[in-house]
Symmetry: C3
Subunit: 300 residues, 3 copies
């Protein structure tokens, strides 16, 4: 498994496992632990979380499993996020959907995440969404304090556009190490609006959420999904891939921005598809064939 250097003292596995649907899988602690171990054996050492996943339950489910074998903690990188609040039985104090990137909320959220994971540090904390009400000075203070206290090793963002990234970075005395954004053969926006360009310019590798477009390409009857599905199937044949998800991952992996796809499946077969995708070599013609099929027209 290739590794991507995010900072001098931090690298991620090229393929990342994402736990946002962990609560839906109805895994026992042992089954979750088994999934973690299967990932680690495959070289997938980076696990992506957020406070809110599973309506604020996934971090704890993961932590409970990890508690069965605490020695695994130092063999992995835990990423989690904060900054979104929504009404949930698990957060009675939340009355409505909003973002909160105040110093107080960031610190509280992190304390809870540490408890949930039963760990004393998180590898990378991401601000989950660009907050139009963000006070970057408060974010900077929270980050500095968390770093000093050893509770967080590094910081990043998620879903940030160029101006938001540059603005927040200008207040920090540490580099943001990643931007977790939606990237897939189906969802091209971040390739087109300069977000990926900025990652390259700033020399940060983006994490890709929904690298399979949330399954849309497999099942949706919209025109774009249908033509993309057919094209991917045809190219899968050409490159001897079993399934089109391998081609979808390969398309991201071959991009020069060092995109790290987040595989959000609890099934080993689907995880292995992402791993196998690393060996697929698409020609530049195939890469553009997929791009142009997604766009619905040729490049100019």
């Amino acid at each position: 498994m290739e590794r991507i250097q995010l900072a001098e003292d931090l690298s991620f596995s090229r393929i990342i496992h994402g736990l946002w649907r962990l609560a839906d899988w109805d895994f026992s602690q042992e089954e979750t632990l088994q999934l973690i171990e299967e990932c680690l054996e495959r070289g997938i050492t980076t696990f992506d979380h957020a406070d809110i996943y599973g309506s604020y339950t996934c971090e704890e489910l993961f932590g409970d499993a990890l508690a069965l074998k605490p020695e695994l903690r130092e063999k992995m990188e835990i990423v989690t996020k904060c900054g979104i609040k929504f009404a949930s039985a698990n957060r009675p104090s939340h009355t409505s959907k909003c973002y909160d990137t105040s110093k107080q909320h960031i610190l509280q959220s992190v304390e809870q995440s540490l408890k949930n994971f039963q760990t004393d540090y998180i590898d990378v904390l991401l601000i989950h969404r660009p907050d139009p009400f963000m006070n970057p000075r408060e974010v900077a203070e929270a980050f500095s304090q968390l770093k000093e206290e050893g509770k967080m090793r590094h910081f990043g963002v998620s879903n940030f556009k160029q101006s938001q990234f540059n603005m927040l970075q200008s207040f920090l005395d540490m580099p943001l190490v990643t931007n977790q954004i939606e990237l897939s053969t189906y969802h091209l926006e971040n390739f087109q609006d300069g977000t990926v360009d900025l990652c390259l310019e700033k020399r940060i590798a983006p994490m890709a959420w929904s690298p399979l477009a949330g399954g849309q390409v497999f099942t949706s009857q919209d025109e774009k999904a249908i033509r993309l599905r057919e094209k991917l199937a045809s190219i899968a044949k050409d490159v001897n891939a079993k399934e089109i998800d391998e081609v979808m991952y390969a398309w991201l992996l071959q991009h020069p921005a060092n995109i790290m796809p987040i595989v959000g499946s609890g099934k080993l077969g689907r995880i292995d598809a992402a791993i196998k995708a690393q060996e697929i070599k698409l020609t530049v013609e195939q890469w553009f064939d997929i791009l142009q099929t997604s766009m619905g027209h040729d490049v100019p």
Copy 2:
């Protein structure tokens, strides 16, 4: 009244008074003077003008009033603008609408403004609109000359997008001290397109024009205005505000970008509403409730 530091030797009152409709109020010189004094007593020391307001008449109306008590000049900051030309009986040489940011026009416009105000310096001169035909070298020359001659203390822009701001700034040997932009609960564009982000990144406080959306929220029958009006009324109740304009000002004042709303009313009641708004504390939930009502959908 809070003050916002724009430069080492320049601060604005947090609430700014805007004179763009002065000519419509049919004030006598004495009434205008009284308005000025009422503002100053309340700590509103910054007055926003433009050469073109009132079809090129407002500066002079203000200057005539000020001439009744010239000692007030040094107790206030005068902001004015240049760069727009339109046909007007008061400018017979103007044949059609255009922008003009040539050195010659800037210098001429400022000379006229100084005469109108019967003062020998302006605190801040703004380029009124980004001029697609702007020669930034000429603007830089005009600014330098005006600064040297002591006619202008500082410079800024209005309605500039990111690329326009960065472009012009790159030609200047002095920092632009503000960007006057449209900002309100109704008009979110500058929050969404990176303009406010750039203000934060560059550490400049924006002035907000039309902070009440030109009255649209009070009277318009468009869907957005209606739902915003209802939401603002409901929150006004919750925070014990008398009128929704207080909530609209509070929403801007609480944003971390140090937004300085320009109150364009000749009525003391409306001016006091902006002042009272400084004491309203919206929760983050209320702030987002207003935002989301304006957008017509939740944040993601």
Copy 3:
């Protein structure tokens, strides 16, 4: 003929001749040579090419003509481009439309261009289109190698938006000397989306392709073309221009960004129109009249 300094050791003629339709003109070698000499006599020393023009034939047609008088080579600047591949009888290895900015393709493309032109150096090489699959490290390596080998004197881009320009530039140890973009009275996008702003900020002069909007303004029946045609005709009268193309060129030439229009005609009359346009002085009102006619509404 005015000259624009692009680098310490490189200047272009303000008017550039573009050869993208050379293959359509059915010129004999002698006729092409004559065109080149007529341009040079008029001070037009810069010739714009691309590998793909004329389905990969124009460079060679030009080179064959130049071979009749090789001493002309050092009196001109040759610009060419690479990075687009499409299926063509002249490139049997190309199976489908795609971009290719790999080191290997850039080097191969340049070798072929040198052969086509029968020269041992190109003045400026442009990446023809922003490549969403671009590996900027490979581009940087190719550029460095070509510069070291003396095959290319300078590098630039074409059709790059802000984020793409900044991204690629951040990987290069030499400045990009131009951005060749679509600019005309009809096509305003690059004036409006920050692309021209960035050229000014970076102090690079853009080359303008389709400065006459590909003839649309002359013949198209779309509303915008019709109203622009009428306005241009009326202004042509006012400034004593024979044809509206002179006004279209003048509109670009007077913009402060040092725009260098590419004249793509094989007819001396049309080339002379661009040259004459240098003497036309539009008033700022006329410039905005054309702008606003193209936009279909006044500036705010």
